[in-house]
Amino acid sequence: MAQQIEQTRTKAAREGSPWTGLWAVVLKEMADHLTSARMRILEILIVLTAGGTIYTALQSLRENIGQDRFIFLRLFTTARDPIPAFVGFLLFLVPLISIALAFDAINGEFNRRTLSRLLAQPIYRDALLLGKFLGAFFTQAIVLTAIWLLIIGLGLIGLGLPPNVEEVGRSFLFLLATIFYGGIWLALALTFSITFRQPATAALASIAVWLFFTVFWEILADLLAQVVRPVRIGFPQEILAQAQLAQTLGRFSPNTLYAETMVALLQPSVRSLGFLLPSQLQGAIIGAPLPLGQSIILTWPQLTGLIAATILLFALGYVLFQRQEIRA
């Protein structure tokens, strides 16, 4: 009996680890990305924006060194006409990088006719897909970390001050959030590269989703909130309910999640990402910065939301890829 159970168990189990060959795929992907012309164009683009925005930020920050405890964080958020702040650029540069890294991940292999040859090697599909994702994810993480270090370096030279511990912690968490914000678009583009046979279609679909969330989602969320929770009489409760629904809906967009995380982490004086009623502010010193721990608690739902969305989208792509027929 026991033997029988053992037999059925070994029969049901898949042989070997699903991650056999994973690192071979990851390293190959990273080598491809880091040497590709596509990546070089993106690097030039991002270095130019970082350099430009930080330079203009420095111009305006130099005047009030010593007055602000978090002057390093201001490097990221200070805008001076006509150039927006660096974080503003990140909001659309990061999706662009991610989409560019992943839109032809699977269909590219298919069109080069390397997919069936790859899958005939002793690896599972799991390893190939996760390897593709991690390869692009690490590439993106390397690029963003390099930019982050570059900005801190420029800040050191330009401001002549070292960042304090809290600034380093906050900007590091901000970097982490940025990487996972990219992860969402990476997983999305990867999923489209599985569903669409043509890389151009996959790229276009990814950009369409991005545009939808950047431009239309906010408008749509407001409209929906007005329909579902109309203000009939004009009670404050009605207005509040409508605004809260609009905000909740707005948070389905990764852009909103990222923007809120950004605000909470880079502006220590922000105490809430929702609505504050005067009663809730009793005893608070307006404008006093929150400690890092409190800011993390404040932005925890947004941070986990970014990570969860990345994992969910990847899981969707994973299921689609496992079911896909390999032949043309």
């Binding site: 042989e15 390293l27 005939a120």
Partner: protein, 316 residues
């Protein structure tokens, strides 16, 4: 009896209502070259994908090297080399870089990597272009690189899907030569193709596919006997009265039928090779023999005859 490398039992694959492979019973012995023949869409590629565990069978069982590819895909794929039709490589990488990727996916130890890559490149005659980007390769060179790619894992069985498609005659000939050297090393080869001459020249046994079913199996002479009824055709080009000559030829023992073709050609259908008798008969009947050809039994004839018969039968 030789050990079976591939064994399928009532293997079936359905895509919705469409049956791609229908109750296939295939056995391939160790060390032989087996040809899968059939028109496009007959189910050859689907069969191959099931042998590799890349597609799950709807019903029936598969054993490759004694293992079930759906349950133990890694062990099967570590021992079986697969060359897909129109094989692709990363054009921007060199041959060595492409092979190094395959080697790493196969878990070949780092220390052996270089020597094994050099070794397989030498065997397919690509050492001199090893550091060129694969994008610059001709079709024939890519195909040979495909063989190198497969040999890297030191397979016991190699499955090739339309390996000579799109090659020029010289390239195809060289390619078939490589296949024969692999057989000498004891590697079993399964070759799917619709290019009959090449299959005939290389394969020990062939299986004929039609609409998902394997309708004929055996060596080429065996199939010829089955399909062509063992007929042996002799073509004569003669000068003289053809009616008279045909009459005397009919009287020869072993002759089944004599057909007079256009002006000078006579076609003799015989039970066996009776060329000397035919020649003697023509000369003694006063005819002048200009040319005498015997038709070898080719897979072409078997193939076209078989499908003609089937279609004819279906039409009735």
């Amino acid at each position: 009896m030789a050990e079976l490398v591939i064994e399928t039992h009532d293997l079936t694959k359905k895509y919705g209502d469409f049956t791609a492979v229908d109750r296939l019973n295939l056995s391939v012995r160790a060390g032989e070259i087996f040809g899968l023949l059939g028109p496009n869409g007959a189910g050859k590629t689907t069969t191959i994908l099931m042998l590799l565990g890349l597609t799950e069978p709807t019903s029936g069982s598969v054993r490759v090297l004694g293992m079930d590819p759906a349950r133990r895909p890694l062990s099967v794929k570590a021992r079986v080399g697969y060359m897909p039709d129109l094989i692709g490589f990363y054009d921007e990488l060199t041959a060595i870089e492409n092979l190094a990727y395959t080697a790493k996916l196969n878990g070949i130890p780092r220390g052996e990597l270089n020597s094994r890559i050099q070794d397989v490149l030498e065997r397919v005659g690509l050492s001199h272009v090893a550091n060129q980007r694969v994008g610059t390769y001709s079709r024939g060179m890519r195909q040979r690189l495909g063989v190198a790619d497969v040999l890297l894992k030191r397979p016991q069985l190699i499955i090739m899907d339309e390996p000579t498609q799109g090659l020029d005659p010289e390239g195809a000939r060289e390619f078939l030569k490589i296949i024969l050297t692999l057989k000498d090393e004891g590697i079993t080869i399964l070759l799917a193709s619709h290019l009959l001459h090449q299959v005939q020249a290389t394969c020990d046994r062939v299986g004929l596919f039609r609409e998902g079913r394997m309708v004929l199996v055996g060596s080429v002479p065996e199939l010829a006997r089955q399909v062509l009824g063992g007929a042996y055709r002799i073509y004569l080009e003669v000068d003289g009265s053809r009616q008279e000559l045909a009459g005397s030829l009919r009287r020869l023992p072993g002759v089944v039928n004599v057909i007079t073709r256009d002006d000078r050609i006579l076609e003799v259908e015989a039970e066996k090779d009776i060329r000397p008798d035919v020649a003697g008969s023509v000369v003694s009947a006063g005819g002048r023999l200009l040319r005498l050809d015997a038709e070898t039994q080719s897979l072409d004839d078997i193939y076209s005859r078989y499908f003609q018969e089937v279609e004819h039968g279906a039409a009735n």
